[in-house]
Amino acid sequence: MRPALVLAAVMLAVAVSVPFVSQTAMLIALFGFIFSITAIGYNIAYGYGGMISLGHAAFFGAGAYTVGLMNRHLGMGELAVLLPLSMAAAVLVALPIAPIAARLSGLQLATALLAYSMLYYSLVLKLGPITGGSDGISISGLAVLGYEFPDRQALGLFIYFASLALTVLALLLVKRFLGTVGGRLVLAARDNPLRLEFLGYVPARAKMAAFLISAAMCGLSGALYASALQFVNADLLYWTMSGEILFMVIFGGVGTLLGPILGAFVLSGLRFYIATTPDVGIYWQLALGVIIAATIYSAPRGLIHSIYRAATLIRGSKGGGHD
């Protein structure tokens, strides 16, 4: 059996057993898996499609608010409906800006998406009677296939395993997508859009598809996040949320399969530490800034590459591609 498969099986076994071992570890891993889906999605746009974004909070928030709004106004709590609906809502939010995102690049693109996402942030605050404004929305009565969760713990356990399964599924789908002509077109559009045009293909098509898939995954994770907390507020749409998503991917490894998951878990761990340690909350942004600067300086290709390099050194063999 290949070492990578053995390692994957061990990690899966650990992930499955975590909720039955430690409540604290489960909470960290729960948000680790939720943000893994966010980061995997973001990585499709940025890592593979070359579209740097400071606006993905809009898609994450769209997913979260779909659960919140449907729950508050229609009394809907069925996750089997809410989760796909959240993905559709995120795609709907991404749709107007996608053609622009597919044609801009670099700082122009990042700021255009930042401005776009802040529109939704303002909208949520302005439409207080509908969205709950700055107070947010409390969510209750969540169920799956008609089964209503009796308490928070049962709901948390379900969201945990759903997020774990969806993370694995997202990983496998992205790996498969990259092996398709469509996936290679996304990489090619990132590398050399002009060449694609001279092969008769409009690169914006591949980029748009990558952008919308990315938005859908962020929407899904936003819905899981809101369901896990049973609460949603406008902070999820604020630009710092987009910054955190970007941080996860840069920290873990841009354009790699496993890097975003690593970044998501590190961020979740940090968030948990900040939330549970008195008087450190005010240092959150400072700590994040220092960590980003240190990562870019010491591991510019992300932590996953450093781990691969260390593993290669330990094995004493010459390196090969991992992702």
Binding site: R195, L199, G200
Partner: protein, 243 residues
């Protein structure tokens, strides 16, 4: 009489105060192999850029298979079968040589034809072998020499089934020993596939060996257009090319 695949009529193009093309008129028949020669800045690449619709003419027209390309952009031109390689190779650096070629195969006429890139591996490998690049299949462009990247650029244009293929200095950066081999493969395959070939080339030995027609350009104008054997009879050509 064989129909002209490409005809340019009175093409003119200025960049600021510089005349890049000055009333250029010429045509190429199906399967013809023509070379463009001339000193740097004589308008060779601009002519290829205008024919491939990357640059728009100020005056004149490009007619491809009887149809004016006035309203056609470079993407549509590629879909119609006007393909090209570049002076500076244009490749996908994150993909292997094999994947670069496979993607070109998948995009014949601009529409993706296969869902899995793996299904095109054999054909892509075959194309690389044809151009003696088979051993580089798993290398990415940054790991290749400039000459190898130029050849990969040509292979990518070739596998797209062009009706008109334009190569911009295909042998620059390629060793003297290799350039004859490469040009031989290019010409042989173009003839086999019935591709009309327009090549910008500085090496006059290659031009005399392979050209059916030569277009000599100077300061945006065509100073000679005809078979290579008559070139040296023109005093203007001798002056421009220093032969």
């Amino acid at each position: 009489m064989t129909e002209a695949v490409i005809r340019v009529e009175g093409l003119s193009k200025r960049f600021g105060g510089i005349t890049a093309l000055n009333n250029v008129t010429l045509d190429m028949k199906r399967g013809e192999v023509a070379f463009i020669v001339g000193p740097n800045g004589s308008g060779k690449t601009t002519l290829v850029n205008v024919i491939s619709r990357y640059v728009r003419e100020d005056a004149g027209d490009v007619i491809f298979e009887g149809r004016s390309l006035k309203r056609v952009n470079h993407v549509r031109a590629a879909q119609m079968g006007i393909l090209r390689s570049f002076q500076h190779p244009q490749l996908f650096h994150g993909l292997t040589a094999l994947e670069n070629v496979a993607l070109s195969l998948a995009l014949r006429n601009g529409t993706p034809r296969a869902s899995r890139i793996d299904s095109l591996r054999d054909k892509a490998q075959e194309a690389l072998e044809t151009f003696q690049m088979g051993h580089l299949a798993d290398k990415r462009p940054p790991e290749m020499s400039h000459g190898e990247r130029k050849i990969l650029d040509i292979v990518m244009a070739f596998v797209g089934r062009p009706r008109l293929l334009m190569l911009d200095e295909p042998t620059s950066g390629v060793s003297t020993a290799d350039k004859w081999g490469i040009m031989d493969i290019v010409i042989r395959n173009a003839k086999k596939e019935g591709i009309t070939l327009l090549v910008i080339e500085h090496d006059l030995d290659l031009v005399f060996e392979y050209a059916e027609n030569v277009i000599v350009m100077f300061q945006g104008s065509v100073v000679y257009w005809g078979p290579p054997r008559n070139m040296a009879n023109s005093e203007r050509v001798r002056e421009v090319l220093g032969i």
